[in-house]
Symmetry: C2
Subunit: 620 residues, 2 copies
């Protein structure tokens, strides 16, 4: 089971202890100077991290943080940021005084919890229970995509082991035999408001983690010899990930706070700080450690190539989810960084079309959406373009991970299928009715909602091309082919589908209800009433100019969406038109949905042809 | 370790087999008639559930589903709804033909996944990995609050064991020694799109579940003698929950689909159905089983009593989170159904004020928000009023549970502290900036956002009084006392804080930015410009009448919120005023937040006094 591993250099324990003392100084100095922060949570893991960095294990080029073969270190317990920064001081890559004086300061990259504002942060953390999933993505990339020998290390807190996402990451890491993933569990016994469920009962953690298929190594987290030995052993484990489970003391080294409750997230006052520094003993402020360099290996990545054009027979309805699957598969040669992750529903989201064509670029992430999103972030940070798919409803499971991912400036695409009541008989649990609100509220996100196969194909391409967070909402049912293959769908655009000089109102909609609007338009026209119809396929950003034209040229705007009334397309339009006098009326899902036939439900919720016609007639 | 348990009646295996055949008939008939549904996932658990119901274990009065001592059964694998309904046919509580003809029909309570439209459904399911958490709430209620001997049973699928929420529920159930909670894990090997991670390797499940502190019992899920024996054993386990882990066959009894991939969520066609019925053999459509009645025990619940009035010195700032803690403690005698759940941050959310006063009504749910919300739903369904608190940012972790809870019509209160960039140095990971969007988009939810201690106190009382889902957003920093103790804050209201005949604009805001608006108002007034200021403490529903008055009487509306621009207060106001011509301008968080001092961040995001003054001046 052992991997072949070059002998590690013999680390000098005394030197490491000197480094740790200096790091402790900076952890205390920076937090006391800032007047806030988490010194005690940093002190418990100081030896664990100093041993990793300066014991010859961690391989990283500080002059080239983007080196594809750098080992990766993620602080899942992001509140231990003071320790993270102290490591880089010790590595000679961050000026100690600069750290002491700028931690948590406005404009400084040394934020209260790590964000990518600081160049050595691989991904932002601070919402607990997310780092291991990010690490799964990094390790999947190393083992299966880039095929590089870098190792991903995750510092974990014991409190955060209560998060279910940890066990999702654990099971998937074992499933994919990620022997390049090493967790370091800092069991300091104390959470924010008191003791954790298991205190220093390391065996509970060991039993669970082993049951989830990991190797485990128990250590005294303050003993450098034990810590170094643990990393040595962990590096030799083959075919499975390893967790180093360390018994540690929160606040270690400062008797006033050591192992005491009530000291989470609190900085020492100046006089306590001075006493603590005395207690640390002789501190050599100039001591530095050496980080081993990475092997200079680069991944072999294919060059972008040409792709076919999409083609759909004009007379056959196609679900936009099919267009998604087709597009992903079709576009891969042009975007060879695409990787597809799906939450055990690839036959429904149609990610399986891609999977069948490019099995090596597809990861089955099972029904564990939180870890799926975290892993996607890890892949994105290594230069891949992850497309993450599940039912739109189930993406809500990972809202915290989606929200947090934003602070890593990632290039991730989310795809939610089975949007709206139009899914029909399966009922409300399976209906995505909050997804537009969720994805719109993410800063700078792009939200796309195609209504036919061609727009679906083009919007997948737009998503792949766009650097950032993009959400694509797809529909279960087949919808008619509305556009031709030549049509372009730029982000921020829309399509005016019906227009005349006599339009009394403009219906703005997207997705399946576009066809309800068109039917309503035809019905009204037969009665001599003209309306404008806009396909707002780009829900964020919206095409303000076209909407404002419509607001100027027609008496009223009517928005229609298969989504709850708040936060979706209707409010996007209202926001765009908030400074114009034209009234905006919104048709949206406002009654508790239920099982029924798609058309029955569209009618029931007053978002179908009938409701649109009635609303236009009501304008008088 | 064994509990004393009366001997179970000797069940007649042949009779049970007759019942199971009849149930299989209805599972197939109803799904074939509907043309959709999940027969195969129902057939695998037929013996497991028939044995529970009619083997003398499950105690329930079908004439009185609300009996507080009924045992509870939750289908965490909600897609097995056809089996659930078939159970009630077999119990004589649902007409078989009515079931066959109405399953999944518009208007029928027999929905595609269980919802509380059907009287025997305790809580809606269908998003996987949620039932066990709901069961934790039911079992906490029985053991610690109502002190009743009812038992909660949860039917679980093997696929859904990949969800982290399961392990959250598992750890908390063991922590609280819930020996009144029995899980039934239906290991049918096949998920939606193929085999699960572990197939029929029951030992993997056993090892993990035991490591999480549960008793386990392995059975052949199609053998009635084994199933009955398992329930008997499970009923005797003391001090910990039990999981019955059953090896089963998906599609059991229908050779065309038995143990075959590709048959998830698919109904048989008519001819396959007819062949399947033949294969089932002699079916006695009139066979019925007997459910044992519950002991007629009722909980002793205290009567509501009088409470003190809140009091705060007028000159001392108080964080609204403190007001929350104070109010919950103060109001308990008036609302003795209040129960507080907190995600290991009670010292920050101030739930600890309540905990210290009423420790028996407080549950520490550790850092496991998904399970916390699920458990709260279970408690709500048993008549408690759960107040669920954590940082607003971390409530996003449970969005799927919050979304799903809506379909159970529950009486739950969510409380999110540390809202907005105004939390300061801790940085974006800890800032609730999407919570208003998330909670507004929940159908019929109430969203409240107090700005001072008195409004905080009153809004907690409004929340307790209101039947339904309420969200209260609280602030970390102390804010001045703005209101008096006599002021009322009805849901759907607002407070006009500044008003004159010469108001050029109305600033609509809530929470911490109310004070920025007041400062801006004062500054402008010194320059001879009057503005109106509205505290929109009820973000949903909003006070449309007052907003429309302001829109009529002033030239412009300016919304200000410490939240992202989409889905929050600004869009709530825009929605209310979408049909009025007055322009609405929105100040909201639009730049990536960072660590900094609260005031620096309010300034940086242009949601402070300075930005408000500038915006008003820009109106010209």
């Amino acid at each position: 089971m052992d991997k072949e591993e070059p002998m590690q250099p013999q680390a000098d324990v005394e030197h490491l202890q000197k480094i740790a003392r200096m790091m402790r100084y900076h952890i205390l100095a920076a937090t006391t100077h800032a007047g806030s922060g988490h010194p005690t949570s940093s002190l418990s893991a100081t030896e664990l991290m100093a041993g990793l960095f300066f014991g010859g294990f961690f391989r990283y080029d500080p002059d080239n943080p983007d080196h594809p073969n750098n080992d990766r270190l993620i602080f899942s317990k992001g509140h231990a940021a003071p320790l993270f920064y102290a490591l880089w001081v010790a590595a000679g890559a961050l000026d100690g005084e600069r750290y002491d004086n700028n931690y948590r300061k406005m404009g400084s990259p040394l934020e209260g919890h790590p964000t990518v504002a600081y160049k050595y942060v691989e991904a932002a953390t601070g919402s607990l229970g997310q780092g291991l999933s990010i690490g799964v993505g990094e390790a999947l990339n190393a083992k299966y995509l880039d095929k590089l020998p870098y190792v991903t290390y995750i510092l974990l807190g014991d409190s955060e082991m209560a998060e279910g996402s940890q066990w999702e990451a654990m099971e998937i890491a074992a499933h994919y035999k990620l022997d390049n993933l090493i967790g370091v569990l800092d069991v300091n016994r104390l959470g924010q408001r008191g003791e954790t469920m298991y205190g220093w009962n390391l065996e509970v953690y060991e039993k669970r983690i082993r049951a989830f298929g990991w190797e485990t190594i128990l250590v005294d987290g303050h003993s450098f010899p034990e810590v170094l030995e643990a990393y040595k052993k962990a590096g030799r484990v083959a075919d499975k990930p390893t967790m180093i489970i360390a018994k540690t003391i929160k606040g270690k080294g400062v008797s006033k706070v050591e192992n005491k409750n009530g000291w989470h997230g609190k900085a020492l006052k100046q006089d306590d700080f001075e006493a603590a520094v005395k207690e640390l003993g002789d501190i050599d402020m100039s001591v530095r450690g050496q980080i081993a360099p990475p092997q200079d290996l680069r991944p072999e990545r294919p060059q972008p190539g040409p792709v076919d054009e999409p083609h759909y027979p004009a007379d056959k309805p196609v679900p936009t989810r099919n267009a998604y699957g087709n597009a992903l598969k079709r576009l891969y040669p042009k975007f060879p960084a695409i990787v597809s992750l799906d939450g055990e529903v690839s036959n429904s989201t149609r990610a399986e079309y891609f999977k069948e064509a490019y099995p090596q670029r597809f990861f089955e992430m099972y029904i564990a959406e939180q870890n799926m999103v975290g892993a996607a972030l890890g892949l994105a940070q290594r230069g891949q373009i992850p497309f993450v798919s599940t039912f739109a409803a189930f993406l809500t499971r990972a809202f915290d991970q989606i929200r947090m991912s934003r602070y890593s400036d990632p290039n991730i695409k989310f795809v939610g299928s089975h949007a709206g009541v139009s899914i029909g008989q399966d009922g409300p649990s399976q209906m995505g009715l909050e997804d537009l609100a969720m994805m719109r509220t993410v800063l700078d996100s792009v939200v796309l909602y195609p209504c036919d196969a061609y727009s679906g194909e083009r919007l997948v391409e737009e998503a792949a091309q766009h650097q950032g967070i993009v959400y694509i909402r797809t529909t279960r049912a087949g919808t008619p082919i509305l556009y031709g293959p030549e049509e372009a769908f730029p982000i921020g655009g829309c399509k005016v589908l019906r227009q005349s000089d006599q339009d009394v109102a403009t219906v703005v909609t997207a997705g399946i209800t576009v066809f309800e609007a068109l039917k309503a338009c035809d019905e009204l026209k037969e009665n001599g009433v003209n309306i404008r119809v806009i396909d707002l396929y780009s829900v964020k950003p919206v095409d303000e100019a076209t909407l404002k034209d419509a607001a100027r040229e027609t008496k009223a705007i009517i928005t229609v969406e298969d989504h709850y009334a708040e936060g979706g397309l209707g409010e996007a339009v209202k926001s765009a038109l908030a400074a114009t006098p034209t009234p905006v009326y919104s048709l949206a899902v406002r009654k508790k949905p239920q099982s029924g036939k798609p058309q029955e439900l569209l009618d029931y919720e007053d978002i179908s042809q009938r409701a649109i016609v009635a609303r236009v007639k009501d304008l008088g």
